[in-house]
């Protein structure tokens, strides 16, 4: 247990600090060593924005075990028209539209957060295999040349295949063959850890999972948001500027758990990041029990600045309360019977 981690946890509200002799929290997400199982879900947590609003050194006190930044694409995207977010029962629907500066401007910002000591998993988006591979190739070329100390520890990629396919307009991840093409194109461009982040908007999530793994992915992340529609109460027209959006938050947790369990059973040795409505340490433990290696926290980041520290402290308590000596021991506990 590092003193930094203890400090980060003790800053949280409502959670107990780590105790010596508590459960072993570190996990191996493939080759990526994590001090504990919690990471942020892409697009819900911006390191630089947190650092700007924090008393102290947020880079040193960074609460997640790895940082997954907002999805980056080959070219800049302005995103969807407003409104982009709205609250629903036990959840929220968003349609941001992958607003980002494009990979070249994104690379230019790397020196600004090079002092982050946690591993980084870069979320990549696009509308065809070449666009995804262009992002990975541009970043690999930069990392090969960049002077020491000018980039954070980029250890892997998460391919966000919930983007629409340029030819069909359907989500790439809803088509196993298209998913495989994206993964294969990126596999050619990097030797780093490669995750495919699966969309839940499919009949059988293991089909896309099998396609991604068959094409060279090292692991799977799931689930992304559920395609959803919210109406304006007065006009009865779609509320969001993009008409449809993605549902996240506690409402999706039971479906996400079922999907993570299906994938974990189908591919037992595969590193998995489980996510979908994690609000508490109990939620995180349930994803681990369904076979997740690590757990991503998304919408909970919008509820309080200290959500990651609180959830981690609660996870510690829950592991202990359930008699687990380590996260690894809890992994898959729901699947054994």
């Amino acid at each position: 247990m590092t003193s930094r981690r203890t400090h980060a946890i003790e800053r949280g509200t409502g959670g107990a600090p780590l105790r010596g002799g508590g459960p072993q929290l570190s996990v191996s997400l493939g080759p990526v060593a994590l001090d504990h199982p919690l990471v942020d879900a892409s697009g819900t947590f911006d390191l630089l924005e947190y650092a700007l609003r924090y008393d102290g050194d947020y880079f040193a006190d960074f609460p997640y075990a790895a940082y997954v930044p907002k999805t980056v694409t080959a070219d800049a995207r302005i995103g969807n028209p407003a409104p982009r977010v709205t609250e629903t029962a036990a959840g929220m629907v968003n349609a941001i539209g992958l607003e980002n500066p494009g990979i070249h401007a994104w690379i230019g910002q790397l020196p600004g957060w090079a002092t982050l000591r946690r591993p980084v998993i870069v979320s990549v988006g696009g509308n065809d295999p070449a666009q995804y591979a262009a992002v990975v190739a541009a970043l690999e070329a930069h990392l090969a040349e960049a002077p020491a100390g000018t980039t954070p520890r980029i250890e892997g990629y998460e391919l966000n295949v919930s983007c629409p396919n340029v030819s069909s307009g359907l989500q790439i991840g809803a088509d196993p063959a298209a998913t495989a093409e994206v993964v294969a194109a990126c596999r050619e461009a990097t030797d780093r850890f490669l995750l495919a982040k699966l969309t839940p908007n499919v009949r059988d999530v293991t089909e896309a999972g099998a396609a991604a793994l068959g094409a060279g992915a090292d692991g799977l992340a799931l689930v992304n948001t559920f395609k959803a529609l919210v109406l304006d109460r007065q006009t009865l027209k779609p509320f969001l500027g993009n008409r449809t959006g993605g549902l996240c938050g506690p409402a999706i947790k039971p479906i996400a758990l079922r999907m993570v369990a299906e994938v974990a059973q189908a591919f037992p040795d595969t590193p998995i990041i489980g996510m979908g409505g994690v609000m508490t340490g109990q939620d995180a433990l349930e994803f681990i029990a369904c076979g997740a290696t690590a757990v991503a926290v998304g919408a909970a980041n919008f509820t309080a600045f200290e959500a990651p520290q609180r959830i981690l402290a609660e996870l510690c308590d829950e592991l202990e309360a359930h008699g687990f000596s380590s996260v690894a021991e809890a992994r898959g506990a729901a699947l054994l019977a």
């Binding site: 697009g43 924090y54 302005i78 407003a82 977010v85 959840g91 607003e99 919008f302 309080a304």
Partner: protein, 263 residues
């Protein structure tokens, strides 16, 4: 936007850690409640135009609500809340002694440096940040005039929460103050050249104020309202079209130069 302007908007302290605050005072004005919170760490950093994210108590709501600062002095902050939806209605029902979680201050602030004549134009609940601004401007010796517009007599109940020396009110139904919109008030005011305009309200009102200031040759600042999820720059949910592209109301705003936004 000049570098000097950018610095004036962005130079205020933002702080997103959660403060657990006790409510020291509640005043009700129809569907509005003015809450006074003991929040020393928020008050110390606050500037007019900034906002806080407020957790709706009871656990039934996922997202916090963005509420602009109505007042800040000593160890207290003030929030003026309109019962508009289920979440804000719960907030208006809080009592003295209750505790709520707030995070802030967040966002950019109204520039006030060097302002001698100020015209504050508000619409509905958008008037709220203008009270705090009026307090600061008056303390700095500026001449402050306010013109507030409300839809009807119910909405105009909010006016009772304000304490601004020269405050003019209009209602569209003619029940309180001048009959008509805030533009009818402006037509009757004698506005000195070089007056700085500050405005906050519904987007159609902001667009009308933009046209009016352009016609009058005045410059000003606007605080925008938006649907937000995080309130702290992470989710990109609250963007507005501006001359500088799509910008986040929570992070690059809520205060913008009046002539640069397309509300």
């Amino acid at each position: 936007m000049s570098g000097a302007d950018a610095q004036t908007y962005g130079d205020h302290s933002q702080w997103a850690e959660t403060s657990h605050c006790r409510i020291a005072g509640v005043r009700h004005f129809g569907a509005f409640a003015a809450l006074e919170l003991i929040a020393p760490r928020v008050a110390r950093r606050a500037a007019p135009g900034q906002f806080v994210m407020v957790t709706v108590p009871g656990g039934g709501f996922l997202l916090r609500r963005p509420i602009s600062l109505f007042a800040a002095h000593g160890d207290r902050i003030g929030l003026l809340i309109e019962a508009r939806g289920a979440g804000s209605e719960q907030l208006t029902q809080l009592d003295v002694g209750d505790a709520i979680d707030v995070a802030g201050p967040l966002g950019t602030a109204f520039p006030t440096e060097g302002v001698t004549n100020a015209l504050l134009i508000g619409g509905g609940i958008g008037c709220a940040p203008l009270q705090y601004l009026a307090d600061e401007l008056a303390a700095a010796g500026a001449h402050v005039t306010a013109a507030f517009g409300f839809r009807d007599f119910r909405a105009a109940r909010a006016a009772g929460a304000f304490s601004i020396e020269r405050l003019w009110v209009a209602t569209e139904d003619g029940s309180v103050g001048k009959a008509g919109t805030v533009l009818h008030l402006l037509a009757a005011l004698d506005v000195a050249p070089g007056t700085t305009v500050y405005t906050c309200g519904p987007n159609p009102m902001v667009a009308a104020i933009q046209r009016w200031t352009f016609a009058e040759g005045l410059r000003g600042h606007v605080s925008l309202e938006a649907h937000m999820a995080c309130g702290t720059g992470s989710c990109h949910g609250c963007v507005v079209d501006t001359a500088r592209g799509k910008l986040r109301v929570c992070s690059e705003g809520p205060v913008f130069r009046l002539d640069e936004v397309t509300p």
